[in-house]
Amino acid sequence: MPNQHTDAEAKLQKLGQRLRAGFAKQHPAQNLEAVRGAVREQYEQEQKAKREKTITPPVPKKEREREEPDQER
């Protein structure tokens, strides 16, 4: 019985693979450009953020302290 069960499972899995492959064949991806664009945009934003992080010099402490009285006024 357990062997019969495994055999049936294997056949159903084979069927599943065939159906997924057949469906992808019958309905090929129409246009993944929008998806590629979204990925590219996100990637570029991440790269830009990284660059800005390394380029932007930290504000010197003294300068920040000097600005504070101005803000209070």
């Binding site: 056949k11 159903l12 899995q13 065939r18 129409q30 990925v39």
Partner: protein
């Protein structure tokens, strides 16, 4: 070597897209399915950095979770009454289409006929479980999560459904 994100995305589409396509197209009407699928793929590709798993199974579970969430977000009502059995002739058309890339041997044909018999012999409540597990390729845990059931309940249900279908085929 560090893989660039856009090329990683291409790899993801190649591997993930065909399986998710059937999942999405079986769940919502075809005229809206293409848009939903694009949303799912975008979420998979842009969310890769958040994926915390380490196995293929975990990766698929994560992908299907994203797909389910997108489907539920946008098409909650349609998603609730899905799972109409697909007529055997339509299934054979898909199998024939798959044969263009991988020819079907006589033994394969017998196996596929048997598997198809199991599916069509199963009762409606079993059909849904067998379809999700074997055709979509969802793991027990994923089905349990989707249907809000316990893991063991799903495992036992699928085992019982399979045994029942086998007895009907005998």
């Amino acid at each position: 070597m560090r893989v660039q994100k856009p090329s990683l995305a291409e790899g993801i589409f190649r591997i993930v897209e065909p399986d998710l396509r059937l999942f999405v197209f079986s769940t919502v009407p075809h005229h809206t399915a293409e848009d939903v699928l694009q949303e799912v793929l975008k979420a998979v590709a842009t969310g890769m950095s958040k994926f915390a798993g380490g196995t293929t199974g975990e990766f698929w579970a994560w992908c299907y979770r994203i797909a389910r969430n997108k489907l539920n977000d946008q098409y909650r009502r349609q998603a609730a009454d899905r799972m109409q059995p697909v007529p055997p002739e339509e299934l054979w058309q898909l199998i024939d289409a798959s044969a263009q890339d991988a020819p079907i041997s006589p033994q394969d044909k017998l196996d596929l006929e048997y598997a198809m018999g199991l599916l069509t012999a199963s009762k409606p409540e079993c059909y849904e479980f067998l379809w999700k597990h074997f055709v979509f390729g969802l793991a027990y845990a994923e089905i349990a999560e989707e249907l809000k059931l316990k893991y063991d309940a799903v495992r036992m249900k699928i085992g019982r459904c399979l045994a029942e279908a086998q007895s009907l085929m005998a």
